[in-house]
Subunit: 283 residues, 2 copies
Amino acid sequence: MYDAIVIGGGPAGATAAIYLQRFKKNVLLIMKDSGALGKTAHIDNYYGFVETITGPELLEKGINQAKRLGVEVIKDEVLGIDNFPDFNVKTINGEYQSKTVLLATGKNQVNLRVKGFNDFIGKGISYCAICDGFIYRNKKIGLVGNKEFMLEELEVLKNFSEDITIFTNGMDLSVELHDEKIVTEKITEIKGDEKINQVVTENSEFDVDVLFIAIGSPSASDFALRMGAFLDKNNIVVDESFMTNIPGLFAAGDCIGGLLQIVKATSDGAHAAIAMNKYLKNN
Amino acid sequence: MYDAIVIGGGPAGATAAIYLQRFKKNVLLIMKDSGALGKTAHIDNYYGFVETITGPELLEKGINQAKRLGVEVIKDEVLGIDNFPDFNVKTINGEYQSKTVLLATGKNQVNLRVKGFNDFIGKGISYCAICDGFIYRNKKIGLVGNKEFMLEELEVLKNFSEDITIFTNGMDLSVELHDEKIVTEKITEIKGDEKINQVVTENSEFDVDVLFIAIGSPSASDFALRMGAFLDKNNIVVDESFMTNIPGLFAAGDCIGGLLQIVKATSDGAHAAIAMNKYLKNN
């Protein structure tokens, strides 16, 4: 049982892990890839670096710093988090228990960039099978994705309907499926009236009552949504101590909104770690 | 006329100056010495530095970074700031005009560490001659200090009383005075009843009605106080855009309170710079 699991290895997550480690907490940092910072070629405005530094360089420094100070770091992808009452964090390769969790996975919810998509968000386009699956029992369900995250959602949706079509949207399917309807063509348009009713691909059309999105990996807001945490325009809502409405679940960095800058993320991380340390003392 | 003058060369000030420079603003950073960070021997928890770094090293990096990006940096000591309506920043060596000012000089208000001192703060111990001098016209005034800041306060106090005694509190007097009563002994105690009435030194006692404190250099809260900005327990009060109640006067870092950490100061600095850029556009 960890005192804290930090999900995300960017500026917010690494800073929080470093602070928690200095508070002598038993902390695990789970990171997947490099997020937004990993795509940043030139950083000039992060205090303390005289010369330009690249995002990947800064990320590596932060992780090496955390490791040097004793933080346990693993590279793995988190698929889901449960809490009753302790947290159980499920990854592709294992499960980890903790008294608190910090979501710091940045702002990476992936959408489809096709005609009509934005028109039907909340009108039959959903990001959460656990939240909305029940509404569409025995209906025609579409599910977009190609990896473990899609598989997680699929398992949930199977409880509600047998008519499920998986759209990989041109991506390679990286998980094994049996007896599922799979469409590998690219999606070109979403159609509907009041609500979605059709997914158009390069050479075909598919009638659907709902389209669930599970592209790539789950984002912080995906986790938050599934656990019942409040969101505001895809930002996780936290109080002044960076805790969500779920006791012990904290969030920091880009995923809570505000300025999408390294300095803001590191500040969030430090504040969250201090609040988590206090929470661990009082609970 | 500068777009912005940043007072203070620590993490908050340097970050703000860097951001303002990137917004193509004409910015001047005035720094005196190294503040709290300059006294910090070991920094392990500032994101991005794998190995331990010292405060002076980080400060130097930050300033060199600002200079590389084109920020004009001067080493000087700010003595006072006026605004009608543009800001005039008076230093030991010059005067500078600007449309906006950012106070980022840290938390360095110097107090006397002698018996009785804390008992008489607000009861005859004052930090602001412009604010309180009039109350003590023709009274016995004591003034503690040994440098330019003390001289500034002295010039103000001379308008109100001829009975002024200067206490250097054992420090060398680094400015020239004429016909002033000067006590160079160390202060050992502050005495009084409801209000202060006596300053006790190593070998003597002096009756006073008020004791003004102008030790070392003026702090951000000293400037703020003199300009009529709101303070709360010596912290400068700012709104969500880091602006004080005085239009165009911003503050960031330790001087506005909160977490006294580098990550919080840099975050403050970036947020303040963005707000100042917006303010400059709208005014």
